[in-house]
Amino acid sequence: MEFWLFVALFYLPSLLEDAQEPMDGWLPAAVELENLDCEPITVDGARQIAPGRIPEPSARGDFLERRAVICRERLMSPGIRRAGDDAMLSGLSGHAEEMAALVAALEPDERERTWLVETFHPDPAVGHKIGFAVKNALMGRSLKVSDRAPTLAAGDIQVIGSLEPAAAYPLACTRYAAAGSLGAGDGLLAIVLRDRSETILHAGICTDGRWRWMR
């Protein structure tokens, strides 16, 4: 009995304190908590952001391991956007930086081309945002970027549209180069959502009529 009292005295306060913690609380999250974006920050950082909310460390030590989590309400409540699109758009900056990093990691002769960005997403509005973010991310890495869109002839589109993606993208790349739509100094970064149920983006590049999947 004494043992369990001992355990309760030591662990109950922290268990109660953690009950509704947004990140790893053990009680079911309230509805409003589902709409929060939370990330851990340092305890010192939290003391600066919200003075007084986290006690200053005692001169004798407080013998507690403190953690701080900063939570902000998400702008878009669940249900406003399609779940897959929401997952994609919520991390758009990160996705765009990853795409730009792929291009920046190329050999200098490829990297120094003028980059065109094409997005293949079923929703044009989402595709536009992805393309915009990737172009800005490429510019942020001091790469040359153009707003031009490569074009294909109607016959090419008809043939390419009938192919499986694995064959369609390389063929489109070849036709871009053959038709002169993608010149020797140009490179195309294609961002592709291959399956509507996915929340990751694939990337391929087309240079000199040669197609490569980068991700």
């Binding site: 309400e73 998400r74 702008l75 406003i80 900056s93 800005n136 707003d147």
Partner: protein
Amino acid sequence: MAVDAVRRIGRGLLAGIVLLAPMPAVADAIDEAQAARLEDLRRRIAGEVQLTVFELLDELVYHWKQSPPFAAETPVVLADVTVPVGLGTGLVGLVENHLAGLLLSNPDSRVALSHCPSCTAVVVRSGPKGTVVSRGLDNPEVLARVGGPGGRHGLHLDVAAEGAWLVLRARITRLTPDLPIVWSRTLTTAAGAPSLLRESDHLKSAAEARLEHREALLQRGPLTVPIRFSVRTYAAPALGFATRILETPVVSPPPVLWIQTGLELALTQARAWNASFLFGFAFVPEAYDGLMVQTRMSRLISGSARSLDGPDVYLFLGGALMTLQGLAVGPFTNGDYAELVAATSSPDEVRATFGAFHIGLEIRVGERIGASVFLENMPAYAESETVGDFMQTPFIDFQSLGAEVSFSF
């Protein structure tokens, strides 16, 4: 058994039909309710993010002021504005208007918005290689042929909601056949961060604006100590009394200069209501000296809260009790001035004590300096032969007109 089975199936089907019959109507009602709820939610979110979007636009133009994207003023076509997926397009119009206002107020950004209907129109070009359908902006060669702008640039803006963050992306494209992007910028702010509400014609950096806001909040102690210089002038007697001048000259009261100080208390955080209690002292050698107490209640009428960067106007009502002594105070004694002067052996024996009620307007800047004018009613001189009326109304007459300059600490 077979008959029972058929009956059971029949009853089941009937029950199924009965249960399912109203389902489409219920489903429609739920869909409509969900759609209405979503629309409400979208409207609320759009209202919440609007100020934050404006904030980001302010920051964008401020950045252009600090490091202009062009060496000289350059016409730029607003190519497209997109808002977070899920929000309506009403926000687009607000963004366009705010940006246009900012650029007009800040010509040193060197970005001049240009009107170009053919830029956003759909253009069709047929050639040996095929037919291309696009916006004018996306096909500068065609744009040039249809008389589009030469040497201009296109500005693209995109506002995205990423979790709790609102992100503004901007890029400028030169409208030449290869459409190079010549400038881009990504600005981010937490949606929950309070808006800075900078003035469009006095843009500041976010850090400066926050510092100013913080200082303004710190200055908002409820008590301030005003020092006020005021002058009260008194109306000459009306014509009926003036006719007596031929027999007995009537001397009008002189203007009285006061220095006042005391305490002012803000009754609300917004400083919409203030109350003050002041002591005053008047001294003009060989003329008069005096003391006064004054209390006043002020109401902000230029807004619901004190402006952080503009003047405020207050309407005030108050009362004062004044006592004056000296030879110049004679007209306040309501007696014959010549007789009074002849009868007194010392100027200190000429003394007047009276009360007054005033109403006026005060304009204040930054809770530091203010100027006001007021009219004062002095009940003791309502029928006076030596003090006239500046203004007469059916209910109350004002015998005194005053002006003040205040400094608050």
